[in-house]
């Protein structure tokens, strides 16, 4: 009985490790390919992993392609989107959670409706709206539509509601306005939820595909997700350059993930539960 249990454990461990290798194999393969010399003769699949390696592809991509511009676009858009999302959502959430005024339940309900609106099903009228505002092919058009999402706001409302009223009242009695309460009490106490929303907004923006595909018309406004696939058309003969570009686009996120794994995982579970 006991040996059977031990064998069972070993078998499960072996299976779980094999699965883990299957999951990361495509990434390791892409990484290996990106270090190969272009035009190398490939006879069997193992040749992709063989030395000699070179970093020439990375230098080439950075020097001669539009990848650096797309990276900067992606970064700027993601950082600005994240900052605006956190600021605007937390402000609105604060008013709903902690300022007493008539009609706040109605407003909250109005903000909840957004949970039911699938962005994918409104791209056509969204495009028309953005076009009327002259926002197509501009940074504003790429950034603004994704800022005011219901989910981030709701996560913040439920967090703010849990903050103690006594502290807030104390500041108000001392003559501090709502701004003082917001900046001195609410924000410092909400680092956890803010970092969750930050991570989410950043990843969401960095990986956003459908809207930038419609909104970014000129190459100079492309983000990485829109630019990278254009490589496939230009260099289909060799795998090396396209996969190098893919790696350039992914490595920052992979590294960020490995550093902030715990926070990201918490954010994921939170969004699943709240969302």
């Amino acid at each position: 009985m006991k040996t059977k249990a031990v064998i069972g454990k070993v078998v499960l461990t072996v299976i779980s490790v094999i699965l883990a290798l299957i999951f990361i194999a495509p990434l390791i393969w892409s990484l290996a390919v990106s270090f190969q010399i272009e035009g190398k003769q490939i006879v069997s699949v193992w040749d992709w992993f063989k030395l000699p390696y070179t970093i020439h592809n990375y230098i080439d991509i950075i020097k001669t392609s539009a990848v650096p511009i797309w990276t900067i676009n992606s970064l700027v858009i993601a950082v600005v989107s994240t900052a605006l999302t956190v600021i605007l959502s937390s402000m609105a959430a604060y008013a709903i959670a902690k300022i007493k005024f008539k009609g706040r339940n109605l407003i909250f309900f109005y903000f909840l409706l957004g949970l039911l609106v699938p962005g994918e099903a409104t791209i056509v009228p969204l495009f028309i709206t953005a076009n009327n505002l002259n926002m197509i092919d501009t940074y504003a058009g790429l950034i603004l539509p994704s800022i005011a999402g219901s989910m981030n706001m709701i996560i913040m409302v439920s967090f703010f509601k849990g903050l103690p009223n006594e502290l807030i009242e104390a500041v108000r009695i001392d003559g501090g306005g709502e701004l003082a309460v917001f900046f001195r009490i609410i924000l410092p106490l909400s680092k956890a939820v803010i970092s969750t929303v930050c991570i989410f907004a950043f990843i969401g923006s960095w990986n956003n595909y459908l809207w930038p595909l419609l909104c970014a018309m000129s190459q100079s406004k492309f983000t990485l997700p829109i630019g990278i696939p254009t490589f496939a058309g230009t260099y289909t003969i060799d795998y090396v350059k396209p996969l190098t570009a893919g790696m350039v686009a992914s490595l920052p996120m992979i590294i960020l993930f490995l550093i902030f794994e715990r926070h990201i995982v918490e954010g994921v579970t939170m969004s699943g539960i709240k969302g």
């Binding site: 069972g8 461990t13 779980s16 699965l19 883990a20 999951f23 990361i24 194999a25 892409s30 490939i42 699949v45 605007l88 402000m91 609105a92 008013a95 300022i99 007493k100 005024f101 407003i107 903000f111 409706l113 957004g114 039911l116 609106v117 699938p118 962005g119 099903a121 409104t122 056509v124 009228p125 495009f127 028309i128 709206t129 953005a130 505002l133 603004l144 800022i147 005011a148 306005g177 709502e178 990843i203 960095w206 990986n207 595909y209 459908l210 419609l214 990278i228 795998y239 396209p242 893919g246 686009a249 992914s250 996120m253 993930f257 490995l258 994921v268 579970t269 699943g272 539960i273 969302g275």
Partner: protein
């Protein structure tokens, strides 16, 4: 009086910026879309009112029916796989071994990729001749050297390609939901079952899985919703081919609106998707509320 107004002014100031963006970019398009869908409307703008013609056209448009069918095919193949694989991975990665963290990181890592990079990698993975998958099958002697599987061309294999790529790329998210639910199961319950003589398998099927039921419902719905929204990976891997046999609804909407410049008809089609997704989200909200009450 001034004192009474104060909270309103403060609240207004705090809410207004969010309110404006939310109204313009989330709520307004829903209303605007209805208006657009009753018109013949090109990329250049409105042309003329045509009533419900765009909606009646849906029933006779073979491409629309085909795209809807493809989306359903994708949901039916992929959503169950995503749920089952997520559960298996979560159970494996939640076992008390030293590898726990390593396993979770590996299973989740593909989720970090953007749809274009994930699709891009998949295109080369599944390519014949020098692609990784056929290469590995040859290298391990599982496939005769002269055979090349056409993962992207064969109309049956192509669904296997898209579906397995989607599982690889997104299953980590659901796995994390399962892991956090598994961690909420108190070890005492399992211990008690074990003292009562329940084997590991019995514990799994009679204790753990029933306790995971609310999470399973949530994961099923989230994945069905996500699968109905499929676009990027199919568009980027097969372009909807071979011969439109994998083209999903969103891609057809996209092509109708932006390649054929028929925004009105595209808006009308969008409401079919909208309706499906709203029903599913309401169901999801209902299940979540129920789950929260039971806790």
């Amino acid at each position: 009086m001034a004192k009474k107004l104060k909270p309103y002014i403060a609240a207004l100031g705090f809410i207004l910026p969010f309110f404006v963006l939310y109204t313009i970019f989330t709520i307004w398009p829903v209303i605007k879309g209805v208006y657009v869908s009753f018109h013949k409307w090109s990329l250049m703008g409105k042309q003329k009112f045509i009533g419900v013609d765009n909606y009646t056209k849906l029933f006779t448009d073979k491409n629309f029916v085909g795209a809807l069918k493809n989306t359903f095919t994708f949901v039916i193949i992929t959503a169950p796989l995503l749920v089952i694989v997520a559960l298996i991975l979560a159970l494996l990665a939640n076992r008390p071994t030293k590898l726990k963290k390593f396993l979770r990181t590996c299973y989740y890592l593909p989720c970090v990729l953007s749809v274009s990079v994930a699709s891009f990698i998949a295109r080369y993975l599944f390519a014949p001749y020098r692609g990784f998958i056929n290469g590995v099958l040859h290298g391990l002697g599982l496939m005769a050297p002269e055979v090349e599987l056409q993962w992207l061309q064969d109309s049956n294999l192509v669904w296997a390609t898209i579906s397995s790529m989607t599982v690889w790329w997104t299953v980590g998210f659901s796995m994390m939901l399962y892991i956090s639910a598994l961690q909420d199961i108190s070890p005492q319950i399992l211990e008690a079952a074990s003292i009562d003589g329940a084997s590991k398998a019995q514990q799994l099927f009679h204790v753990t899985l029933p306790l995971l039921k609310p999470t399973t419902w949530l994961v099923i719905l989230l994945q069905v919703i996500a699968c109905f929204k499929v676009f990027g990976q199919i568009y980027l891997i097969t372009g909807g081919g071979p011969a439109s046999s994998t083209r999903p609804l969103i891609q057809y909407i996209y092509e109708t609106a932006f390649n054929k410049s028929n925004m009105g008809y595209a808006a009308a089609m969008s409401y079919v998707l909208f309706f499906i997704l709203v029903v599913l989200s309401l169901l999801q909200q209902y299940i979540q509320r129920k789950g929260e009450r039971e806790e």
